[in-house]
Amino acid sequence: MIRLPYYPGCAVQTTARNYAISGIAVAEKLGVELVELPKWNCCGVFPSLATDDLMRHLAPIRNLIHVQEMNDSGVVQNENRVVTFCSMCFHTLKEASLFVKDEEKLGKINTFFEREKEFVGGVKQGYKGGIKALDFLEVLRDIIGYEKIAKEVKKPLKGLKVAPYYGCLVIRPREIGIDDPENPTILENILEALGAEIINNPNRTQCCGSYHTIDRKDIVAKLTYDNLIYPIRNGAEVVVTCCPLCTFNLDFRQKEARELHRDLKEIPVMYYTQLMAIAFELDKQFYGVDLELHHVDPRPLLKAKNLY
């Protein structure tokens, strides 16, 4: 068993519980124990892109300090990695860890943390650098490997037509992304190992509309249509995602998208970890499909394919 520090983030505790429930179970099956940070705060998504905005980096750096503390207290030994499921958390933590490679910036941020020593609830140390944020997809590819995933498959997803969707933050920008920003393959490789039939989705790296879902639903509806219509036309039965916000937009904004274009059929959206839990034949509670978190219910499809 490899023990890795794990940063949950707000989304997988609320609207994306199905992502973490399935992901943690899958990790355990593959010999990785995800040890939750004893204390953590919202990562502060999006990272600030301004050169002078240090304050917006406090939240992610504070979490990286908590990883240091885990090492100090002996919860993990010499572990400089921290794993997340949520693409936005991953992106933010990694961006911050790169941002403070500039020592002047790190120095200023640490002066801020220095002042916390004297009060209850403050961190007792500054950030020393060197903590690496990993997306769980990287853990699967680089630490576990596709072969081991394939070996664990008890019930291959034969005949299930899946279209991967990456979104932005896990592949762009290049220095943060975990795969080729124009032609990523990591989700395809995992789904292939599960025995699923991969359906080409030409828009799999296009933006989902992201935070515009709050104040510009129309933009998100248009993008949701664009991102779903090609996989549907190509025969996809389910869209597979790795980000809770993409999932929310692709799933919940289907109704707004259909108001724009009547020809959009309903299609369920699932996390890759849910399909892994199904293919591994884990306990049904780890599929995360019974939590009323899906707008388009994937259960009828799974039942039809004899997977649930």
Partner: protein, 234 residues
């Protein structure tokens, strides 16, 4: 000799500045008492004088120290060279909700206080809290909908408003926490069985006769009964 005398004198009387004006007051007084000593009379911003009501939020800075500090005027004793000012009221946002109609869902805080999503985890609220609460941590717990965590971390909140005054993203932590404690009490915390049973007894009229008798008893008899009452052991 001369110098020593001065020093001794300094220990007794300190120089403070109330809203910019200088006063010499005896050392050892609280800010509140020092202000009264200086001639101010409190008609607002003063309540229990015991550190519980949160009415006397104060901001101060000590000469030579760059830090702006927060305290309760009834608790903090004056220091030489202290600049101080009262914040008797925080004009904070407080949406109207009906507890009966709410549900303890994970998004309940974001629904009524969406601005909590702006928290940058700077911890300034925690630094400001005169009750030493982990304010930022409960705001964070509110973002992820953990009602119990918010209620427990904020249990000792006295609603003084200093966290809201200091928050760079204009969150009102103490009102968020109040919602959490209300939801926790109503929907999450296990109900005390004996209280429920007693309420049923009261409603079924079990004590009506006793109350009627008490009402008819004269004041002197009541006093006597009160003095002779059974006192529960501590």
């Amino acid at each position: 000799m001369e110098i020593k005398q001065k020093k001794e004198k300094k220990e007794e009387i300190v120089r403070i500045y109330i809203m910019g004006r200088e006063y010499k007051v005896p050392a050892g007084l609280t800010i509140m008492k020092a202000m009264e000593y200086a001639g101010y009379r409190f008609i607002r911003g003063c309540g229990c004088r015991g550190g519980f009501c949160g009415g006397c939020a104060t901001v101060y800075r000590v000469k030579g120290d760059y830090k702006l500090r927060m305290a309760l005027a009834c608790q903090k004793t004056v220091e030489d060279g202290m600049y101080t000012s009262q914040i008797p009221f925080t004009p904070a946002e407080k949406p109207i909700y009906n507890l009966e109609e709410l549900s303890p869902s994970v998004n309940v805080f974001l629904e009524y206080y969406p601005e909590i999503a702006k928290c940058v985890s700077c911890n300034t609220c925690t630094k400001a809290c005169p009750q030493d609460l982990e304010v930022m941590d409960y705001v964070q717990a509110a973002i992820r909908g953990d009602i119990q965590e918010v209620a427990e971390l904020s249990f000792d909140c006295i609603m003084c408003g200093l966290c809201a005054m200091r928050c760079p993203t204009e969150i009102v932590p103490y009102n968020v926490a109040l919602l959490a404690r209300r939801l926790y009490g109503k929907y999450v915390m296990p109900k005390a069985k004996h209280v429920e049973e007693r309420i049923k007894e009261i409603e079924s009229g079990k004590f009506d006769e006793e109350i009627r008798r008490l009402k008819e008893t004269s004041m002197n008899n009541l006093k006597e009964m009160y003095e002779k009452r059974e006192i529960e052991p501590e």
